[in-house]
């Protein structure tokens, strides 16, 4: 009998103008698991997130979340099932204050009418400040998000995910453009979230991946190359071929 997964992708393919971004991808994520996806550029990492979050639709295959079929749902519907996403390039509302950004992310009713008559309760306010504390932007609550530094925007976006309190967090290159120290903090944060939430992290920075110390999935040309602990993966010769192989060739050329 087949185990219950939080997120399962089976036989998913997607191509743009003939270019196969995702090719017969099979992927399973357990509840509460923290998973890191690595892979060279164009391996289809971001496209995979697009497919999960409904930004694009797969040509073939199915994606299920808690047994619910995601394919065909619209972004906000998928979100409401409990899937939050942080983009590769930080996307926050530059014209809104940091506080408002979190407020917009905050879990709760999303309907038009609700938004018209909803008041900001004490509880919400506390929750927002709590989140702001966790991401260390409390001092900037009143500032426009547009005025934040790149790293801070990343944090803010993560903050919005926290506020949303989603079941599954899709985090695309959270550490990009962060100082080592910030990166470390981000790592801790993500690790601490695992268990309560399930996380799917896409990352290049191997140091960061090691810090996460999670199970790793290597994507290559749109399908899973191999899966396992970081060590296991790094010793897999196909991976070496894909990653280091090039380097190897390069060194040959050099000599």
């Amino acid at each position: 009998m087949k185990r219950e997964f939080l997120l399962t992708a089976e036989g998913v393919s997607k191509s743009f103008d003939g270019f196969k971004a995702i090719d017969d991808l099979n992927f399973h994520l357990e509840k509460g698991e923290l998973r890191t996806i690595i892979g060279p550029n164009g391996a289809g990492k971001s496209t995979f997130l697009d497919l999960i979050t409904g930004r694009t639709r797969p040509d073939t295959g199915t994606i299920e979340f808690q047994g619910k079929r995601l394919t065909g749902l619209r972004e906000y519907e998928i979100y409401r099932l409990g899937i939050g996403r942080k983009f590769q390039t930080p996307s926050v509302y530059n014209d809104h204050t940091v506080y408002e950004n979190i407020l917009l992310g905050l879990e709760g009713p999303r309907g038009v009418w609700a938004s018209l008559f909803q008041r900001i309760s004490k509880a919400c306010d506390d929750r927002i400040h709590e989140v702001l504390k966790t991401i260390g932007l409390e001092s900037k609550a009143g500032h426009k998000a547009g005025s934040l530094a790149h790293g801070q925007k990343q944090w803010l976006e993560i903050g919005m995910l926290l506020a949303q309190n989603a079941e599954l967090l899709l985090v695309d290159e959270p550490a990009a453009g962060m100082s080592d120290e910030e990166t470390a903090k981000t790592g801790e944060l993500l690790v601490s979230l695992a268990g309560k939430h399930s996380l799917l992290v896409i990352e290049h920075d191997m140091v960061f991946v090691r810090q996460l110390g999670s199970k790793v999935t290597v994507l290559h040309q749109g399908h899973v190359l191999c899966e396992g602990s970081l060590e296991h993966v790094q010793n897999d010769e196909r991976v070496v071929e894909v990653y280091l192989g090039r380097k190897g060739k390069a060194t040959h050329a050099a000599t």
């Binding site: 979050t53 930004r55 619209r74 972004e75 906000y76 979100y79 409401r80 939050g84 996403r85 983009f87 390039t89 930080p90 996307s91 926050v92 509302y93 530059n94 014209d95 809104h96 408002e100 407020l103 917009l104 992310g105 999303r110 309907g111 038009v112 938004s115 018209l116 008559f117 909803q118 900001i120 547009g146 919005m160 949303q164």
Partner: protein
């Protein structure tokens, strides 16, 4: 725009409202013509019309300034509102028309034997008053639903709204639509039993327009205070993020679009009895573009801007079409180009122009490139 109402803003608002609703009509009613303070019936009527146009501008700003949707078909809803009330006014002419007939004149000389069925209920004021709201609302709802659900946005949305009003314009020009064709409706006599020719009636219409304008302003201002307002501006700035924060952006847009349409519809209904005519030329695409000019010149994204824009540009027009007809279009066009290029925030925004520009540059870097 600040998300709290400051005391000062409140006071100023009340003063302005008082000035518009009480003082000016008062000057018209209770001062002798000779006195320098006197406001002539002519200017009251003219102002009434401007205020109606200002209402449209406010609605348009709600769309453009706050939601980032440029509708090039706003005057369509204005006209629909106008027609809805116009039908009532036509029926109220009764036997006072050229033909002394129960039918509206144009039906007589187009040889209609009796009133078409869809005209009948408009004899009731309440019915057409409702129609003023639901007809534009419904059209906006249908079009908006189709447009937003298939993610038509940006320039595509603008072009489609233009096509919509253009198509409507062609349609209303047809006489077989039984809406007066090119002549439209005119020669109105009474509204709710009051003689439209009577200065008092015109004054009341002016006051009604002023109240409507302030109501529209208050509504939009309130909207900006709610969470809705925040989502609305979020949609404008980064729609994708909104979607991935679980908001059905389409519904929010639809709400705003319909609201703006209804606002315009009401404006149209108030406008018609004051100008005394409604016809399809109001739906010509250029008319809606003019409305855009008011907002752009006044300053979008601020609610006071569009009002000033509408009043300013129109009084300028009134003056220029007389003083320098040959150069008026040059003036309007040139003014518009300059504003769009160098003062995207309009006259109101001129102050913090530089800052705004820098802001814009930054934000665009991160935004998705719209095709």
């Amino acid at each position: 725009m600040k998300s709290q109402i400051s005391k000062r803003e409140l006071v100023l608002g009340l003063v302005a409202a008082f000035g518009l609703i009480v003082v000016i009509p008062g000057l018209n009613a209770f001062t002798p013509e000779s006195s320098p303070l006197h406001v002539s019936n002519f200017s009251i009527n003219l102002w009434g019309q401007y205020l109606c146009l200002a209402i449209v501008a406010v609605g348009l700003d709600l769309l453009w300034g706050y939601t980032g949707l440029i509708s090039l078909g706003q005057m369509l809803f204005f006209s629909l509102g106008g027609y809805a009330l116009g039908m009532h006014l036509m029926l109220k002419i009764g036997r006072l028309g050229q033909y002394k007939s129960d039918l509206p004149d144009f039906m007589v000389f187009l040889g209609y034997p009796k009133l078409p069925a869809h005209w009948v209920p408009f004899a009731e004021f309440w019915f057409s008053a409702l129609a003023v709201v639901w007809v534009p609302g419904l059209v906006a709802l249908l079009f908006g639903y189709l447009a937003f659900r298939s993610r038509i946005r940006g320039v595509y949305f603008s072009i489609l709204t233009q096509a919509l009003t253009y198509a409507a314009c062609l349609l209303f020009f047809r006489n077989e639509l039984t809406l007066g064709g090119n002549n439209g409706f005119t020669d109105f006599k009474t509204l709710l039993g009051f003689q439209l020719a009577d200065p008092a009636t015109q004054r009341s219409l002016y006051i009604a327009s002023a109240i409507a304008l302030i109501a529209a302003y208050v509504f939009c201002r309130w909207l900006t205070l709610t969470k809705f307002g925040k989502v609305q501006r979020a949609v404008r700035d980064s729609e994708n993020r909104v979607l991935f924060s679980g908001y059905a952006a389409a519904n929010y847009k639809l709400f705003v679009f319909v609201a703006a349409a209804i606002i315009s519809g009401v404006a149209g209904a108030l406008y018609v009895p004051q100008t005394g005519i409604i016809n399809p030329s109001q739906m010509e695409p250029s008319k809606s573009l003019e409305a855009i000019v008011w907002v752009a010149v006044g300053g979008r994204g601020t609610l006071i801007g569009p009002i000033l824009g509408a009043l300013g540009v129109n009084s300028l027009k009134s003056w220029a079409t007389q003083a320098m007809p040959a150069y008026w279009p040059l003036l309007l066009g040139g003014l518009f180009m300059i504003v769009v290029i160098f003062a995207p925030r309009g006259i109101v925004g001129l102050g913090n122009q530089v800052g705004a520009l820098l802001q814009r540059r930054k934000s665009e870097k991160t935004e998705d490139p719209a095709p």
